[in-house]
């Protein structure tokens, strides 16, 4: 009998010795996506992670400003890497690595925004004491704003693209959607975001706000020639009372005056412990501290790599005495560096070149453009641009007075004569819709020089072939879809490539 008790004991032990619960393990150094979020800090972290691609090399860290500035007529150069010169020469192919990084970094942001929006059920279920309703709304607004922002960057440059609205996809991803569907998502997201986001006055610097969502919504509408919708959006930004133009135009391109009253949406760059090189996004990996921009060393002539010069036409576009000319460019004899102790030479600028970039250059306060990489925030949408876009909308709607008044707000800050005055009528009369348009073209060019506006402006105005001889109609309206995207996808073949590539 004793033996059978032993046997029973042994069998029971055998059957019970293993617990299947032990098989459910999660990465201790990561947060399980299944149960996300548990805390405010987690949700805040996921939102921060959604902003993070803005700083990456493919976007405002390096290649986005090159791509846009080179493809317009604001620049001249034949220096720099082959992948970058492809933009100024219009020789890019589907294997251009910078296009790939632009594509990838935008989709990194979209995936992160989608992840947050996927968890909306989990988030809503959290107690008010963990995350308040107001914060939940604000976070949703940020996720939607950023998703729309990244999709706008993509749809403008690639047309029909894969449209992800959730992270529940296979690694192989989705095939292309029509660009109209992408715009519908963008407009929907921005509309919701503009209702759920906070006002700038109560929001932390650097985050999306109601004003940012409305300004972007207005811009999207303007680009689509939907003027009434654009007007509604811009009017709300203007009437919100949240924004004014800074007294000094150059305050928009310095470290000390970041996130100022003119800033509508701004990508944040920071040195941390002065370790600029270690904090750059080398290779577009978009992880770690990608907290500095390549803008200053890339464009800089005063010790920088000097890979971009302002074009002669751009420098010539300025009216005499326009302080924005001196704010944007260095000329031989100008002083620079700490305390203005150093003097710019023609040799630094280069033989046969009139000016070098001053905008976004650290040499305004340092002795060289290369103390490291730049910590100057990138102003993506500033109020002056909103006013100019609003002026364009009013002009298109036939409201010439309103249009001229908006233009003159920008003129006033520059302390330049107003449009519609006799001295201006000599050069830029504003007697007709066409004349006002010409004034807008001029004003946008001088106000927003080197701010990635000229290329998309010329493109949407149908004027690009007049100014950019390398541009081929029917091809260069869109960038090629990166070859790796086509290669790694089962559903995509060479017929999915954009025309001409």
């Amino acid at each position: 009998m004793k033996k059978y008790i032993l046997l029973l004991f042994a069998v029971a032990f055998l059957a019970d010795s293993c617990k299947t619960d032990d098989l459910e393990l999660s990465n201790g150094t990561g947060i399980s996506s299944q149960t996300f979020p548990q805390t405010l800090a987690e949700l805040q972290g996921a939102i921060n992670g959604t902003y993070s691609p803005l700083q990456s090399q493919g976007l405002y860290g390096r290649y986005l400003f090159y791509m846009y500035d080179y493809m317009g007529d604001d620049c001249q150069t034949q220096r720099g890497t082959p992948d970058l010169l492809d933009f100024i020469n219009y020789t890019f192919t589907p294997s251009n690595n910078d296009i790939y990084l632009y594509w990838k970094n935008c989709y990194n942001g979209i995936s992160r925004a989608n992840f947050i929006l996927d968890q909306q059920g989990n988030i809503d279920a959290l107690e008010e004491s963990v995350i308040s309703k107001e914060l939940k709304d604000k976070f949703e607004g940020e996720a939607r704003f950023l998703r729309a922002f990244y999709y706008f960057l993509l749809v403008e440059r690639f047309g029909d693209i894969p449209l992800y609205t959730t992270t529940d996809v296979s690694p192989n991803g989705l095939s292309k959607s029509l660009k109209e569907d992408v715009y519908a998502l963008i407009i929907g997201d921005l509309t919701i975001a503009s209702e759920k986001l906070r006002l700038k006055s109560v929001e932390e610097a650097g985050r999306a706000t109601q004003g940012a969502a409305l300004a972007l919504l207005g811009k999207v509408s303007l680009y689509r020639n939907e003027y009434a919708a654009a007007k509604t959006a811009f009017d709300k930004v203007i009437s919100s009372g949240q924004y004014t133009l800074t007294a000094d135009y150059f305050d928009n391109f310095k470290v000390e005056t970041e996130n100022n009253s003119e800033s509508v949406f701004e990508v944040q760059f920071e040195y941390d412990n002065g370790n600029a090189w270690g904090y750059a996004d080398w290779g577009g990996q978009d992880n770690g501290h990608s907290e500095t921009s390549f803008r200053s060393p890339e464009y800089g002539a005063l010790g920088g790599w000097h890979n971009n010069d302002p074009s002669e036409e751009l420098v010539a576009e300025y009216e005499d005495g326009d302080p924005r000319r001196d704010a944007n460019f260095y000329f031989p004899g100008d002083s620079y560096g700490a305390g203005g102790a150093l003097t710019v030479t023609q040799e630094q600028i280069g033989e046969g070149i009139t000016a070098a970039w001053r905008k976004y250059q650290l040499s305004y306060k340092g002795n060289t453009d290369l103390p490291g990489l730049s910590d100057i925030n990138h102003r993506v949408i500033r109020y002056a641009d909103v006013l100019l876009m609003a002026a364009e909308v009013e002009n298109q709607l036939g409201n010439s007075t309103a249009a001229i008044a908006l233009l003159n707000q920008v003129r006033d800050r520059a302390m330049m004569s107003n449009y519609g005055t006799p001295e201006m009528d000599a050069t830029y009369p504003v007697g007709s819709q066409e004349e006002i348009f010409t004034a807008i073209v001029h004003e946008r060019r001088v106000e927003l020089a080197g701010e990635q506006s000229r290329f998309p402006d010329l493109l949407r105005w149908g004027m690009i072939t007049d100014f950019v001889p390398n541009f081929q109609s029917g091809k260069h309206e869109l960038l090629p879809i990166p070859q790796t995207e086509i290669d790694t996808k089962l559903e995509m073949g060479s017929d999915d490539q954009n025309p001409g590539y």
Partner: protein
Amino acid sequence: MKTPIIGWRSFLLLGVLLWQCGFYLSAAPLPNMQQVEVTGTVTDSENVPLPGVNIIVVGTTRGVVTDFDGKYSIAASPGDVLQFTYIGMQSQQLTVGESTTINVTLQGDSNTLDEVVVVGYGTQSRAKVTGAVSTVKAEDISSIPSVNAVQALQGRASGLTVINNGSPGTSPTVRIRGIGTLENNNPVYVVDGIIVDDIANLSAGNIESVSVLKDASTTSVYGSLGANGVVVIKTKTGRKGATTFDFNTYYGVQFKPKELDVLNTDQYIDYASDMILNADPGATLPAVFTDPDFTSNNVNYQDAIFQSGSINNYELSASGGGEHARFRVSGEYQTQDGIVLNTDFDKYTFRLNSEFNKGIFTLGESLGLTYSEQDPLILAFSVSPMENAIRMAPYLPIRDANNIGGYSELTADDINTARNPVRTLNRETQVNKRIDLIGNIYGLVDIFEGLQYKANVGLNFFDNKFKKTELPYGSQGGLHNQAITRFSYVDLRSKTVTFNNSLRYTTTLAENHHIEVLALAEQRKTEITSLSGVGTTDLGINDLASGLSGGAGTTEENRIGYLGRLNYDFAEKYILAASVRRDASSRFGSNKRWGTFPALAAGWVVSEEDFFGEDTVIDYLKLRASWGLAGNDKSAGNYNFESSLLANFFYGNTPGLATNRVSNPDLGWEETEITNIGVDMYLLDNAITFSAEYYNNTSNDLIVALPPAASVGVPNATPTNIGGMTTKGFEFNLGYANQGTEFNWSANLNLSTTDNEVTQLAPNVEQLFNGNKPNVLGNNTISRIAENESLWHFYGWQTDGIFQNQGEVDAHATQAGAAPGDIRFRDVNGDGVINDDDRTVIGNPFPKVTYGLSLDADYKNFDVSLLFTGVSGNDIFNASRYYLDGAAQLSNAGTAVLNRWTPTNPSTTQPRAVLNDPNNNARVSDRYVEDGSYFRLKNISLGYNLPPSVLNVIAADTISKCRVYMSAQNLFTITDYSGYDPEIGPSLGIASVTGDQNSELGVDRGQYPQSKSLVVGLQITF
């Protein structure tokens, strides 16, 4: 053939025995006589009394067991046959003669059917083995001086590939039957029933037996761990009997390796000048080329980094036991100084095995504790000291008192960018301190006759501390300099607790139906924690108390398994085995966590059949076949099936979170279907043993990391069960033993072939290169995986001679940068352009044949043994030749460049030297691919046992055995390979936990060569 196969040996031994006792042996049975009391002592071959030996009078039920001192007493009549049996020993039958004293010496099993083979969760007699199992004997393992027991397995078992590395303390690459997965191919080790990842911590002297399990019927009992094969190790235990002490020691010297022929200073300056002027005829040559302070030097840096080494070992053990308790305790110290400067290894091993029983209860344990310190070979910016030694300018003296630390460095003016390897070896040092605890405690209950319950709890713990120190060197502004001291620390701890419970029922029905049933439940829980830190100081201190920045991490993995197994045989003639294991691993996604691994095997001993003639040369013939599924979860990695949020995406310097991958809840085990067919034969009165196997391993669901489309927006690939490959081959073992009275000799040959092919990668993955590891040369990867090709083949351009003139360049496909004197690369795809698309398969690192041959002989008190190992039919990618004759950049080179192409020397083998190599002559090409076949005398040893007469004089009755020996390793190697050593072991650098190095297989980056060594040793038993 009905005679028991051990018969002939019994008679032989009886003869020896009786002769020794001074009796005359009569062949004819003596007439019937009255029963007498026969007494005697049973001992083993080392004269140690054997308690517990079963003795029966054949044909009767009379039987006794030897006592504590190996003595017995049994009633028998002259002419009766006594049978002595003891597990692990050959049985003997002796006929009772006139004497009433019969002392018997039982011999250990060696490849006989009575050999007890340790298999997964149990033991089997060799006669009942139906799977593919190779065994290695303890004395073979300890015959080669090695600080890692695995090194000594090389050449000893068919199907087992061991690739050694000369670096002291570096574990070799071990593969069973080639490789079966794209990722982790390391076999599983099982020590005393506990699964462990590595046995570097075991000392050879503690190992009693090693079984290599190769087919599904033996490995699938390990479920999701079995597919790469299993090495089962049993450590030595005590036996009943008087306490025995063993003392072993050896000392060996290791000789400096061969050096590669490089240019002397004059040749170097001539070559360098040619190279510089070819690129720019107007260039100014470096001033040092004509500076007598430099040109008068002629430094051979290889000579400076190599040294003669030593290996030294002391081991003392005591074993014994009584009626109810047995023990063995041992301690060992080993030290090895490597043949490269500042590489060495020390190891301290302690082990205690004991077992206690009372009635139906048994309790036992085995516990090993190891502490080791390794000074590994350190790479400088991914370049080995051997490669830097080849590259250094010979005019540069080793030392320069003006530099911090006192070593010279090349400067930008020298153009050559090599780093002084004597400095890197002296100023960049690392020490790895490791504590290993490996042990288990088990309890047995014999519930009733034949039914046994066993619980086994194991703990495997290690703590591995790495500390790297990079002292300042060079001078400020120099090409290579560092003004501060850098430290990096890693502390890695791993703990695995295993718990298994089993019930085993063994019975015999109707005399001949032998049945064994096993039911087992097992769980394993592993936790690995790491702490790491890096810091710098400009103070002259050798450790950092503060100022470190670092990180910490913990990973866990848990596994659960249930096993059922049935073994059946009818009279050891028809043998069947069936098992099924259900296994779950936390590494798999929720949908595929559980797997089922069945196996079936059958054996038929044809020679036991009546129709099998008696008078035949074949004494024994067994046919066997097995089929089954085994799994592998090692390639999955931890947590890789799930998507998790990592806090590494900062915005405004506040941490941001982002998901790392698309999750795959369907991630499951890799599955290998293994079919094995084998035959075992003994011939000519068992003098010849032969076995042959054919195997076919078809792996499905291999894990391929699918890179996400860029638009999916996540950084990491998703592991997916999608790949497939096959590995197949033959294995042969051939043994011959000639047993004489004074002269015995035996020979054993094992030989394996293996052939692998990737059958499927993934629909959108054409090829895989080694992404994370530095498997590149210049900017080209070397090894590749592609469908319908062998794994990790070398992939590059084919060369087609040298352009002798511009006409030849123009006539050839467009090849950017080509000029006369450059290499013509083959336009493989015929598109008229030489580019990446012209790369093709240029070599295969896998040997077609791997073999080992051992010869053992003894004459009177002398014994001699030889072990030859070799491989044939493999290629080596000799990456050192990128520097020796690649001429990609200016560095010292091999003497081959003396015959370089110049307008006046129209070489057809060595291209022109030109700085920056515009034609990219140095690219990955078949230039660097060499035949890797070799044949090596791995070991030769000669021993002498002091005869008892001498021992009695030295120390009466205390010393029972004293053997002195001398051995030599790697005495000669026959090979066409031009590098240091054709045996390309695991890559250099910090040892990783998983240590998988497939993608570097056969790529020689200045390997740490294995040395020739000479050893003297002493073994004493008392």
